[in-house]
Symmetry: C3
């Protein structure tokens, strides 16, 4: 299917589209600056906030009644030479199957979804790539020190909880849902915004293409990230993502940051044809300066919203731009090199 | 009074003045870039730090012996076609009555002060605008879960305390001062930097004029924001503001962020003729992704000091500038449109 | 020695060199923009991450087998008219004696090292300059309230611990190492990035030269800075620096921030000929808005990595640049004024 979809794109009339949420401001803003038309997909009336941000307002809107309805607009989108830039909310709201079957070209490799969204498979991918991860505990009876419990498919950290020991686990767990148990890693969190280009031969080169690291953030989770302010009052921590703050990391750790990104990409090439474009390794850095990667996001993450005009790292790259604009730039370069097939699916 | 003050301004010779503190660097910097003369009001010798920041050093200083003396310089200031940009420290140090009676044009609507500075009236304003606020507890005997107690007129969080229950409240309260008791809301804080322009017809339009959201910060309070570092040592949290850090919020919450700002402005138009220029809603975002607005500041807040050259949000507005410069730009546009009366009081 | 080293520099062929770590990206980036050649000193193969940041990649590398080998390359470096920009990792890895004896010109005054690296001497310097510091406790039996214990020469906060009282101290201390005991100060931390130029007569002028404050950060320490997330699980806090986050401080405190910097520089001129270039005062700001300075770094600190294109403060300085580029600019100005001797040693 895909090859045909891509061949039919008129490379001089491309429209970049995404769902009006998550990271859409930077995606539309970047696409416009790189010369593309833009289309905002929205359920119900288009959000009015774009009026306050005219530099990031899409040229037009496709108004749906529900997310799944997008499937029925595939032909219309193809006629507009649309490339969809997927983000976490788009994939979540459409549902994996619908997303995979959407007959519109998508930036990046759709197949990564099956490896990323299943906690077992993502662990298999990362561990086979030599990425250090928090230990997984398969039998709750083995919980002897603090763990964090995550439900499958829980979005934005919803329902995650910490258990000190086995009995604490039993008190809190909802056994009707599948979950994983990870040893709780003490340290400070760093979320790295990588970009893998299969069509660039300069820079930090891999077996094919090259790797960039364009910024770092830390997610802000409610209520856990201000739980200490409720001094002396006992409440249970919750882990719902509400926003992001900017960080830099010790420069001496950059070699390892790049090596981790490199290993993940190389393994993705081997396993499922590669992971084009933005991805994020979500890490805890311990007081031994060891990383533990607790999750991977295989597309643009919301932490990049911190850097619409560049980050402390992009200043050095030669393109001091947002991740959204980096995506648009990649599409533009692929057009110039006649390599759209390598960055779309 | 006001109309006459404003009519007498020579719009081609405007001087922008403020007290040398709080957000004065960005106010002077922005005013200078937009082509205005600048005047720094200072008690005692002008601060030397402007010498290190020549781009933000006012053209001249008005040196007072005390803040109230400013009243006596009204004529001199009017002769210089001065517009005063008020900030929290200016209003606090002059005192409300003196500020309201100052016979010099002021940016924004002075009348907002009476609604903002009284905790009862600000609650009336916000609640009638449909803004969700932390529950207020009127009888201390009703304190059954953690609350935060705030003294009236306490500046920068001074004296605020948390009480777990009624007896804890009685132990800590200073009953000689008026106070309010708010239910303590667990979550993460976001402070939104809005700008309401009554003279702009483009953008996120309101019943009259338009609304912008130019940035977000989180206040840093001492000692509570690092209280967890004193691990295992028991101290009482305090809430004195010492600075600010930058944040972004989940993009999916922007519609609500704008709606809250919109409702507050519309209600201000209805109640007291509107709230022109910068204002800030100070919120806690819970793990249910519900905002609770615990305070409003009806002028430029110090958190905007993070963004002298633009924020992660201004990049998209078409004017990638500080709040201080946004104010100067508003005055410049009002001059061009012959609408100074609508932005001054 | 030094005078001769400096006289022999061909000011039109200067190469700026540093060790490939810590703050090297901004040092190379800034040097290149200001027109200098750049040389990266590395033990083993050059780090590949520079390939991802071509704007900050040194023109060439000097590859060593170990850090001390640098001494043997002095002549080669002098032939290239090299000026070494020292940072914490370079000084630490070479060792103080080797660094002091290195026969290559160094940016700044090498003599500051002896005052900075010895906790007794740095306290003598700061206290004689009238800088408020946390109280030192000389007899562990006097520990009656929480203290922080720091081993001499411990790098990046390694091994630091908090003790609540004398017996808690005895349980944790490693008596085989020398240490200092400081009263634990409750508050929020601010790290100020100063720059002292002995050759600039404009700006915030001192007895000789002038002072700038180019940015503020807060260090992120693992595990202490997220220790509260491990809710209800008891672990000991550790203080290993992993990165940095950006902050601004209340503008009303800037006079004191500059006065502290001024006093430290003036005292350094009196004691050991001055401290040229970047330095950092590392402070806790209490809820009484009093600073306590717990440490000084007498060269570029890693927190400046947050601001490769300028900080919330540099926007006002007239040079909206990184600390690395500020160093290069100082060298360039010294060349123009024929005053290299005043900024090198």
């Amino acid at each position: 299917m895909t090859r045909k979809l891509i061949e039919n794109i008129n490379p001089h009339e491309i429209t970049i589209a995404t769902l009006c949420s998550h990271t859409s401001l930077q995606i539309f803003h970047g696409a416009r600056i790189e010369g593309f038309k833009t289309l905002g997909i929205t359920v119900g009336k288009p959000p009015r906030f774009y009026d306050a941000y005219p530099g990031a307002k899409p040229d037009e809107f496709l108004v749906l009644e529900n997310h799944k309805e997008l499937l029925q607009h595939a032909e219309e989108l193809r006629e507009k030479n649309t490339i969809i830039v997927p983000h976490g909310s788009l994939v979540e709201y459409m549902g994996a199957v619908n997303y995979l079957n959407l007959e519109v070209p998508v930036f990046g490799n759709r197949r990564v979804l099956e490896w990323e969204s299943d906690r077992k498979k993502s662990r298999q991918w990362l561990e086979s790539a030599g990425i250090p991860m928090p230990e997984e505990i398969t039998d709750p009876a083995d919980i002897a020190s603090p763990v964090i419990v995550k439900y499958y498919g829980a979005k934005g950290g919803k329902g995650f909880f910490i258990a000190k020991d086995h009995s604490d686990f039993e008190k809190q767990v909802d056994s009707t849902q599948p979950y994983t148990i990870q040893r709780f890693v003490h340290g400070t969190r760093y979320y790295f915004h990588y970009f893998y280009s299969p069509i660039t031969s300069k820079g930090y080169t891999l077996s094919k293409g090259s790797l960039e690291m364009l910024g770092i953030d830390k997610r802000i989770e409610s209520n856990v990230d201000e739980i200490f302010r409720a001094h002396g009052t006992l409440i249970e921590p919750t882990f719902v993502v509400t926003g992001n703050m900017p960080l830099v990391i010790r420069e001496s750790l950059l070699p390892e940051v790049f090596e981790m990104g490199e290993r993940v990409v190389e393994k993705s090439i081997e396993m499922f044809g590669g992971m084009t474009g933005p991805f994020c390794l979500e890490t805890v850095l311990t007081d031994k300066l060891e990383f533990k990667v607790f999750e991977i996001s295989a597309r643009i993450v919301a932490g990049t919203n911190l850097f619409p005009a560049g980050s402390p790292y992009t200043e050095y790259t030669g393109h001091n731009i947002s991740m959204g604009r980096r995506i648009a730039l990649e599409i533009k370069r692929a057009v110039e090199l006649n390599k759209l097939e390598e960055v779309l699916s």
